[in-house]
Symmetry: D2
Subunit: 428 residues, 4 copies
């Protein structure tokens, strides 16, 4: 299994750096889950969300399957059934438990899963220290894969806790949090038409779906300088946004009826106050924070209501490519999107990274000339290129080092449990 | 809440006996679950089965709601939300979490539930020691209610563990178990026609659905002297029993197609051997042990194949009423039905109690003159009197003291996860 | 295929009478459908209801399959595929189209189906005139079978027309209809306890499920002298009957929530008026007419609200067995239940036959000693003996000659599209 | 309701031409349905397909609603309920019958629907002759709308007839049909990279989703010179194409499992022969004819198996824009795709129009700068721009005059009942 994934490791990072990345990543996952009870780690609240225990094991299975098994002579899996239990979707690897049934795994216990992690870590350390023929690119891929699951652990456990009538907090909010800063009025920034290059260029890690870098003609457009706020979304609700079919895509209008949507996921009205369930428990909706936990359909309807539209992914990337990776990431500890700070300089979009993933109107598809990796790792991204929409930027649950301007996240248009928000665009 | 449930406590048992029953019952529940991990206690494998954690809490909620709250002045519930979480189906008490969502209760943790039990136990002890106005019949009902849940804990956890691909054992089988004794060939015992009385009479506890005792005319019939064995059921399978529509009720034939039934629940074929998942893990089907985990439809089809029929509940009770409560119960530790011992005397049915619940062809309905209790406890039995079939006798998961000849268990005809088996009857 | 169905034809009716019954029955079916368009005859509104075209063909297929094929040497079916299309549920005969897909039969056209009927009629006439070895009991069964379908044609087409937003009438109501007579206040009639015989006795046709006649002990009971009226049912609604869980069986309460029931089927509220869709189109609910189109669950809840219960089928039969077959039948042309006339004599229940089928609380099961016919005709009744409730008496859509005191109709407890109503009973 | 739809009628076509287009279109619809029975016209075989009767009425409702009602002073609708019955999806117009329930319309009868058509035709003729203020563009839109429904009538009735076990033909195949010509081996034609314009330009009618014409950068690509043949698709099947997950998109693989797909819709294997249901009844699959009735998922999997990919819609349009509208259209009377004729000149794709719609890998979205019409007609195309894939070219069921290079058809990726096929593309 040799993944042809573009990676800078081949060029300029030595094995020591790779080993350090591995340690940092594995440790970050465990710190995230350190306070969780076995009960919380076992339950599954919907087919799309997995138990924490499963995430902890699956990320280890990834290294075991794609690094240890092919490169350690005579390697014996930690447990003969774990391949069945913790394979996510790799048909080339074999059969696996149905996604919706991951919550039935009473065994292995959380403690057994942690043993599995330690076992894999020990072997990986040996491997990284000694094995010459190791495919460093796959190790690096495994680390970025685990970062993705760090974010999913947070979004999945948030969904689970929200379904528990006790609505317990994942982690208490720090008392000393800064007061929210008022979000400035959004301004649109203009971009000229032109032939641009998008996609991953040159150095550093990227997933295969960010390649190849290629030319695209982009018409003149405008992009809002910050995400839509919760306060603006309340205006949409107050203006009967959820009751006016002319604002909605047909499938979106059906989803509103089917699911009874009347507000973003996790919002509920208590008299006149909008409350929301967060990873720190129930609290008021702050009108200055970015609107979050909306589906593509809601993002699209909001944009239509606002006389705008959602950006295409090329537009978003052109606007983002020269910006620093700034915003609120998982490292901030907030685990919730924060109000966008006032601009220090004009004509530059803010909060492009972190806080909320931004829905684009681009359906997820291969870039011209895209080739998935050979073998099982070719299933990583390529087979999902239909029926999903691209999101860009990252969220308050993403590790900062995980993000870049060419990063392409993707979800089905009805999905709401990710930290997904809205940035408006307009034709020039 | 004063339940008019027939009970001998009013007459001849003093409060000390009641307190001892309470202690025995609560302790038995906890011993049953002592070795279970928080993970096992949290997961839910289907809507009909509840997490162990929920059973542990619900049985405590029963005492809190029906004993402590009405009889302890100023009683404050242990937790304000537990009424919502642990009410099973009492509409008169209030709203509650959907049955299928009990597995979403990450919180309270198992430890918190055990604290809840201790809290209730302490208050109950005070109450039993001091409260004059206590309704002893409701305390006794609560104990028998908890015995029912002891059995459900076993059947629910068996279902859960069977769905875990690791198929872990609930408890290892004792090495020293006696060898299975060959089941004698079944004989039919003849009973004359006549006007009989059935239903609970006189002394001791009974549920309201066993009353009133009343007359019923029963035609001459014959009843098999032991339950159908697994070996006999294998013959039915081998004779294409699951493929011959003429053997099945129409709804049963639909269920065979819908669920793809080809054998009892928990059975699987490994080459030529029939294996079964048990609470002690996977093992061979013993041809001498009673057939178990069959639906009403399968029991009925088997009976038709065998040229017989299922008994009516009055027939069963007439045959059982003078027999001692003998068989294999939860106390045996087997947690699986055992081969019926050879008859010590002829013309007496064996294994009427314990081992497997026996499906009758009687739909569950009220006895003539039945009146449910006033108030919420009237929901205990009465509102389920449609669409379910009566089972009689008890199982290897029932506490021996819980059973009696007039006991009426009931489940939907497609249910298979109880320890449900077959005893044949014939018209004379 | 020799059906052992109890029939008097073997004894005392000559072939001429049988031929006349055949002609009358076939003709009555066609008169019923004479005014229906091909469009109405083709559509299917739900899986449980069949297109009229299908009923017209199925009843002919019954004679072709059970009379012509076995008794006419070398008989060739009218069309090789009609066995697949028009077999209802006889597994012994072979595969068939799924019930829910009968509305996909664009072909054969209505005209082709009428040709099929004429073809079968001609052969049947020859057969009845000449064939010595004919099984007269099966011909008689076929006629009573077709009478059942006459009623189903009316209930199924009523359901279909009600789902058409134009709500077209099946047949205009006659202008000269008598004014409805006020329904007298219901009185309960007392019956003593005793050992009774029920089931079909002696002369005349009966279905196999009415046999054998057998003894049953019945406790003292009381039975209302007329069905519950629509006006009384409005009182139940007004008293929040559909919103009070304590009145409902658990499965019934679930059905109320699932289906959003707030009134009988076909009722709708127009301001303060209750309107109902009838076979003559939309009209006011007449408070004096019997309540109709209620499920078992609603009948049971109404009875509980009224401080009564539903009768057992033995009770009903004991009260009905000596009464004349009086009431409003299909021959009246009303096709809707009519107000019960005031009693001409006291202490006699009225409208036991016709108008509305009366739900009993008896689950449909075999009588002691019941044996279904051999072969395919054994599937006629026996395989439905689970999950259904017995209804007694007949309705405004039943042919009068089809009914008798021992007749057992049966439907699932959630069914509402039959002309099903309520008669109350009480323990003495 | 003033639709801003790009149309040449304002410029260079006089009203007489428009009236002639109207007459031709209406007449073509009725000729298509002339031989259909009321039964065939009433039934509905799945929610996505409508009864013929409904199509006949809906196309008339379109003219009544968007032309007659706004432009004829005091116009009264033909029937007050037809707006509810025959509105397809225009929320701005009002409520309507659920799509899946169109088969419940026993009334109006086919004859009543034909009266409705005549009524609308008469008023339209008056209107076209006399009304000055008429919006000609909407009349033209209504005609192209009706052409779309002519195609849907064929695809919907094909689906219905295929579900009838008798599998009746819509129309017998003409005896004198030319023998199928062998399909030449497919060649790939190369196209250079470049900045192109796509979208509707200049003259003639186009739907709003073809505008605005805009620039797009297209990388070098190759396009097959003819559609994939049925014979080639048989090779895919024989090579276990439906059993190899590595060939499929993840959602496609799920669809294969869910629906049990093993061949294109309407194909069935009879021993070694592949048969297919056509509008002329069941016949052999001709290996030379284009593969048809495949979903996007199957088209995509086939392309991957063949070492190619599906074209993007811009690629397709660039290849098609200078070609004549040649192929087999509805006017040929074949109502089935025909083998592609050998090339008369090299390096030119053949059968780009007619025969089969060709799936592209482009998700259906708005062109840059797209603006839907104001009012209800803005719902015509815009609200469907998510979750669907673009198809190009037209089919054997399309009127020739309906097609052009910029035409964008769109369906969900699982849809198979359209005449949808495959043309391969490759990166250069």
């Amino acid at each position: 299994v040799r993944a042809r994934i573009r990676s800078s490791t081949d060029v300029d990072r030595d094995r020591r750096d790779l080993a350090a990345l591995y340690e940092r990543t594995r440790s970050a996952t465990e710190q995230l889950c350190a306070a969780l009870s076995p009960e919380v780690c076992t339950a599954q609240s919907m087919p799309e969300a997995s138990p924490v225990k499963w995430h902890l094991a699956h990320t280890s299975w990834f290294f075991e399957t794609f690094v240890l098994a092919p490169h350690v002579p005579g390697y014996q899996p930690f447990h003969p059934d774990f391949g069945y239990l913790f394979n996510s979707y790799y048909n080339a690897i074999g059969e696996r438990i149905a996604r919706a049934e991951r919550g039935l795994l009473a065994r292995p216990t959380l403690e057994e899963v942690m043993s599995y992690r330690r076992h894999v870590d020990e072997r990986m350390r040996e491997c990284l220290a000694r094995t010459r023929a190791l495919d460093d690119a796959v190790v690096e891929l495994g680390c970025h894969h685990e970062q993705q699951h760090q974010e999913l652990i947070l979004t999945d456990v948030k969904h689970l806790l929200s379904r528990d009538p006790l609505q317990p907090a994942f982690r208490a909010r720090e008392a000393a949090r800064r007061a929210a800063r008022p979000a400035a009025r959004a301004e649109f920034i203009a971009y000229d038409e032109g032939l641009h290059e998008i996609g991953h260029a040159g150095e550093g890690f990227a997933f295969d779906n960010e390649s190849p870098r290629h030319r695209v003609f982009v018409h003149a457009f405008e992009l809002a300088d910050r995400p839509v706020t919760a306060g603006e979304f309340v205006e949409f609700i107050t203006d009967h946004g959820y009751e006016r079919p002319e604002l909605w895509l047909s499938d979106g209008w059906d989803a509103v009826a089917l699911h009874g949507w009347r507000a973003p996921l996790y919002w509920e009205k208590d008299g006149d106050r909008w409350m929301q369930f967060t990873l720190a428990g129930l609290r008021d909706v702050d009108p200055d924070e970015p609107a979050c936990h909306v589906s593509y359909y809601e993002a699209d309807a909001f944009a239509r209501w606002a006389g705008a539209r959602l950006p295409r992914e090329a537009e978003w990337e052109i606007a983002a490519r020269d910006l620093p990776i700034e915003g609120h990431f998982v490292e901030s500890g907030e685990l919730h999107p924060c109000a966008t700070e006032a601009a220090s300089e004009r004509d530059r979009p803010r909060a492009m990274f972190g806080d909320v993933w931004e829905w684009t109107r681009s359906a997820y598809d291969a870039y011209p000339g895209y080739r998935p990796a050979e073998g099982a790792l070719g299933e990583y991204n390529g087979k999902f290129m239909v029926n999903q929409m691209v999101l860009r930027g990252g969220s308050c649950a993403s590790p900062r080092a995980h993000l870049r301007a060419s990063y392409r996240n993707f979800f089905h248009p009805h999905a709401r449990w990710q930290f997904s928000g809205i940035r408006l665009a307009r034709d020039a």
